[in-house]
Symmetry: C3
Subunit: 171 residues, 3 copies
C-alpha cells in the first residue's frame, strides 16, 4: 500500500512539473521580467496578425534600461555573448508577457533571427544565440523549440552585443 | 447660428482628414509613386499568402530607376540615410500599390527589417530607418505602426545605402 | 492518321512534362537530396504554423556533411558563390522533403532571406543568391518564384559562404 502511495505521489509531482507554467519556470530559474522600455523610434514592440505575434528586434536590455554592449570576439567572450543572448531573451519575454498577459498562451516559438555583433573572423554565432534558445526551451519545453538563423553583424544600434527578432504563435 | 456653422464646418473638415485615404495623404506630402522596375534577378517583388503580403527587399530606388548609394557614416550623413530610408519606403509603397491597387486595403504594416549599409562604428541605425517608419505612420496612421529591426550591414547590392523588407496585412 | 498520332504523342509528352513532380525534376537535374544533419544547437530545422513552414537558416551543406566555406569576393568567385547558394537550396529542399514527405505539396516558395558572406566592396549578392532562386524555379516552376532579399554579411557560422532561410506555403 505504501508502495502504491509513493508511486501515486511520484506521478502527482511529475504531472505538476510537466504542467508547470512558464511564469513558474521563470521563478524557479530566478529570472524576473520587467516593464519593457518604450521603443527608441517610431515603431512598436510587437504586432499581432491572426495567431502570430511578430516581436521587434530586441537587444540585451537589463531591467534598469542599460544594455550589454560590444563586439563578441573582441570586447566579449563567447560566454559573455551567450549571457547577452539570454538577456535578450528575457527582454523579449518581458515584451511578450506585456502583450499577451499570460505566457501559458504561447503555443510555439516559431522563428528566430539571431544577430551577433562580432568580429569578421568570428565563427561561433550559434554558440552565442544558444543563450536565447536554451532559455526558450527551459521556459516552454517542446513549445520553445524554434527554427532559427544565427548570423554575424557588422554593426548594431548603440553597439549592443546581440539583436534578436522572433515570431510567436499564440492560442 | 454662424458659430454653429463654423463648428459644423470644422467637424466636417476634421472628419475628412481622419478619413483621408493613403493616396490622398501621399498627394498632400507631394510624394509620387512610380512603376517599380523589374527585379534584378529570378524572383518577384511581392508574394501574397492568405491576407499577408511579403515584399522583397527594396532599395532607395528613385522614379528614374537610379538608387541612393553609399555607406552611412562615411559617404552619407544620418540625415541622408534618413532620406534614403524614406525613398525606400516610397519604392515599397509603389510595389504595394501595383500589387493591391488601392492602399486603403492595407490593414497593418506588420513587420519591417531595415538594413543600413554603414561603417563598423555606426550606432544610429534606428535614426536612419525612421525615414521609412515616419513615412508609414504619416501615410497610414496607427495602421502604419510596425514591429521592426534596424541593423547595420557590411555590404548591400550595388552599394545601395538601405535595404528594407516588409510584411503587410491586407483586407 | 500517323500525323494525328504524332500530335497525340506530343501532347501526351508535353502534358507529362508540365505535370512533372518536383522529385522527377530533381532527378532530371541529377540532384540528390540527403538526410539533413542535426542542427548544431538547441533549435529545429523547421517549424510549421498553419500552412506555412519556416525553415531555419541553412548553409551550403553537402551530402557528406561538409560545407562550402569562405568569403565571396576574396576566397570565392561569384560563380562559386552561385554554386554555394545552389547547394544551400539542395540542403533546404532536403529538410523540406524530410518535413512534408512529398515536395508536390509545396504551394509556393513565399519568402527568402539570402545572406552572402562577402567582402565589404562586394556588390553582386543578387547574382550569388540566384544560385538558390534559379533552382527553385527549375524545380517548382511558377510556384518557386519568391519575394527575396539578398544581402552581404560580415561573418557567418563556421565561415560558410552563404546562409539562406525561407518560408514555404504548403497545401
Amino acid at each position: 500500500m505504501k508502495k502504491h502511495l509513493s508511486l501515486f505521489m511520484f506521478l502527482l509531482i511529475a504531472g505538476t512539473a510537466l504542467a508547470q507554467s512558464p511564469e513558474a519556470k521563470l521563478k524557479e530559474l530566478k529570472i524576473e521580467l520587467f516593464t519593457p522600455p518604450a521603443p527608441m523610434a517610431n515603431y512598436v514592440r510587437a504586432v499581432r496578425t491572426g495567431n502570430l505575434i511578430y516581436l521587434a528586434g530586441h537587444g540585451p536590455t537589463r531591467a534598469d534600461g542599460t544594455n550589454i554592449q560590444g563586439k563578441v570576439g573582441r570586447d566579449l567572450t563567447v560566454e559573455q555573448g551567450y549571457d547577452a543572448a539570454k538577456q535578450t531573451g528575457i527582454a523579449l519575454l518581458s515584451t511578450l508577457k506585456s502583450e499577451i498577459g499570460d505566457l501559458s498562451k504561447v503555443k510555439r516559438i516559431v522563428k528566430v533571427l539571431g544577430m551577433v555583433n562580432c568580429t569578421e573572423d568570428f565563427k561561433d554565432q550559434p554558440k552565442v544565440i544558444n543563450g536565447f534558445s536554451d532559455l526558450m526551451v527551459a521556459v516552454f519545453g517542446e513549445k520553445g523549440k524554434h527554427a532559427r538563423s544565427a548570423v554575424g553583424m557588422y554593426a548594431l544600434p548603440s553597439n549592443i552585443a546581440v539583436e534578436i527578432e522572433i515570431i510567436v504563435e499564440v492560442e
